[in-house]
Amino acid sequence: MTKIKHLIQNFSLQKFKKGGQKMSNVENLVKELVKIHGKNRNSLMPVLQGVVKEEKYLSEDAMMAIAKELDLSTADVYGTASFYTFLDTVPRGKNIIRVCKTITCHMKGKDELIKALEDALKIKVGETTHDKQFTLLTANCLGWCHKGPVMLINDEIYPETSPQAALEIIEKYQTSTKK
């Protein structure tokens, strides 16, 4: 509740501050997405998803821009976004790792997988690395129970991932993002 109040208060403040200023990147992105998906309530999900794809999370600015474009209340946008696990409203790293924690993956060694990732990235589940490259999360059933343990990095799926293999995969992402 307080978060929503804060958002709403911020909304008027930001509007005030931004008067006459140039449009930010996220506002352009939102405008672009609304143009593609249409200016109606049914486009809210694709627009939210589009922003998360680019920005990795929904900032207050982004949610306010969406509310403005789709003519909804900011609280409504936040209320919808906060319902969905994949629509984060807190900053996330460039690459989001989600390890399946459901029982069958647990039986195939998801704890060891998570431990290896935590050690390599020097973060705990739920945290983001200092350089903002990785966020480590757990997820409910990812639908690969016959090939556990499994992890999802952004939209890429990695079934039957041993701790060793996970480190190699992470390294690949590290080098590709540095380039």
Binding site: S43, M45, L48, T80, L87, K101, T104, A139, N140, C145
Partner: protein, 387 residues
């Protein structure tokens, strides 16, 4: 059960037929005849709830109005289920064709696939094939177009009315029923929503005729079903099997020789202990399932299994109705307290009463089904929960 041998079937993944030829065959018939064939086949929904598909189509067709929708529910999120992903990956054209047939039968011009966010890696391939398919359907002068909508990681959106809410850009909170989707679904228009596998079976029934389908399975469970087998089994994977099989046969085929229990139907399904393998039938006359079969051997703690399921439901409950929101939390806290010795073992009885209340008082299938794993695990593995 004549001979007690597991019958493997190859309908869903059979790639020898061109699905568009089946669409042509259907277009030569009247929509009513197509629906009659599906009703005659006895096909029931393969997502878990098991509503007769033909009736769903008929009800949607009978509604007034020009705008109707066909929706393919690809929000497969039940723990232990992965068959829809495989079907989407291997035979997408068969799903599209099944949707086109449904569209023709009920009089819908638009179809949507609601794909769970976890399967987004399939999107580029699906969109490409869909573009091709939509073009081919247009060439047949059938006014029907399919597009894909993505989910964003919410199990509850697999519930049909929550799925509509999500497609309409809202929180995925299930609606009150009635009205049912056939009367008021997506955008409050008559909607036929079917599981991925159901649509492919509908296509195969149109290809082979209802009689061929009825040869498989039993009186109450016609046809076959794709099972997702995981856990302590030497052969995890996807298997299309005849419905109405005894669980004993399943275990002798897929168990590792030390099977203690099988969770039939995923986290929201029933746990069957070894002593009941003989008298349990997999099908609508016994335990129905969306296809999830999790096998546990004697090295596994059933407390951990139940704890995992309850944690899952606590996280995935939409929070809209109190029996489910609070019930899930209290069941989880309750078994933890018993395990730690903070509550006496008799407390289990109280938790069972709570689970039974959730079954009758929860708004949707999620809250109503938590009682299934809870009661079946607690009743059969009481010592493991307490000590």
């Amino acid at each position: 059960m004549e001979n007690n041998i597991l019958k493997k079937v190859d309908l869903i993944f059979d790639n020898t037929c061109d699905p568009l030829v089946v669409v042509d065959k259907v277009l030569a018939k009247s929509p009513d005849d197509v629906i009659l064939d599906i009703i005659d086949s006895g096909l029931k929904g393969r997502g878990g709830a098991g509503f007769p598909t033909g009736l769903k189509w008929k009800f949607t067709r009978n509604e007034d109005g020009d705008t109707k929708y066909v929706i393919c529910n690809a929000d497969e999120g039940e723990p232990g289920t992965f068959k829809d992903r495989e079907i989407l990956d291997k035979v997408p054209e068969k799903i599209f064709s099944g949707m086109a047939i449904a569209g023709y039968a009920i009089g819908a011009k638009e179809g949507y696939i609601y794909l769970r966010g976890e399967y987004n890696f399939l999107l580029p391939m699906l969109n490409k094939k869909l573009e091709d398919f939509n073009r081919k359907i247009k060439a047949k002068n059938l006014d029907f177009i399919i597009s894909i909508k993505s989910g964003s990681g919410a199990y509850i959106c697999g519930e049909e009315s929550a799925l509509f809410e999500s497609m309409e850009g809202k929180r995925g909170e299930p609606r009150n029923k009635p009205p049912y989707p056939t009367v008021s679904g997506y955008n409050s228009k008559p909607t036929s929503i079917n599981n991925v596998e159901t649509l492919v079976y509908a296509l195969m029934i149109c290809k082979l005729g209802p009689d061929k389908f009825k040869e498989l399975g039993t009186k109450d469970s016609r046809g076959s079903k794709v099972f997702s087998v995981s856990g302590d089994t030497p052969n995890p994977g996807i298997y299309e099997l005849e419905l109405g099989m005894p669980l004993k046969e399943f275990v002798s085929e897929f168990g590792d020789g030390d099977t203690k229990a099988v969770q039939v139907g995923g986290a929201s399904g029933h746990c069957v202990p070894r002593k009941h393998f003989n008298d349990t039938i997999i099908g609508f006359e016994g335990i129905p399932t969306g296809g999830s079969m999790m096998v546990f051997n004697s090295s596994r703690s059933m407390y951990n299994v139940l704890h995992d399921y309850l944690e899952f439901f606590t996280e995935e409950s939409c929070g809209q109705c109190s029996p489910c929101r609070i019930g899930c939390q209290q069941l989880l806290k309750g078994i933890e307290a018993i395990k730690k010795g903070e509550k006496s073992p008799i407390y289990i009885e109280e938790l069972k009463r709570l689970a039974a209340t959730m079954k009758i008082a929860s708004k949707c299938g999620l809250g109503q089904s938590v009682c299934n794993p809870f009661t079946s695990i607690v009743d059969n593995f009481r010592e493991e929960i307490i000590y």
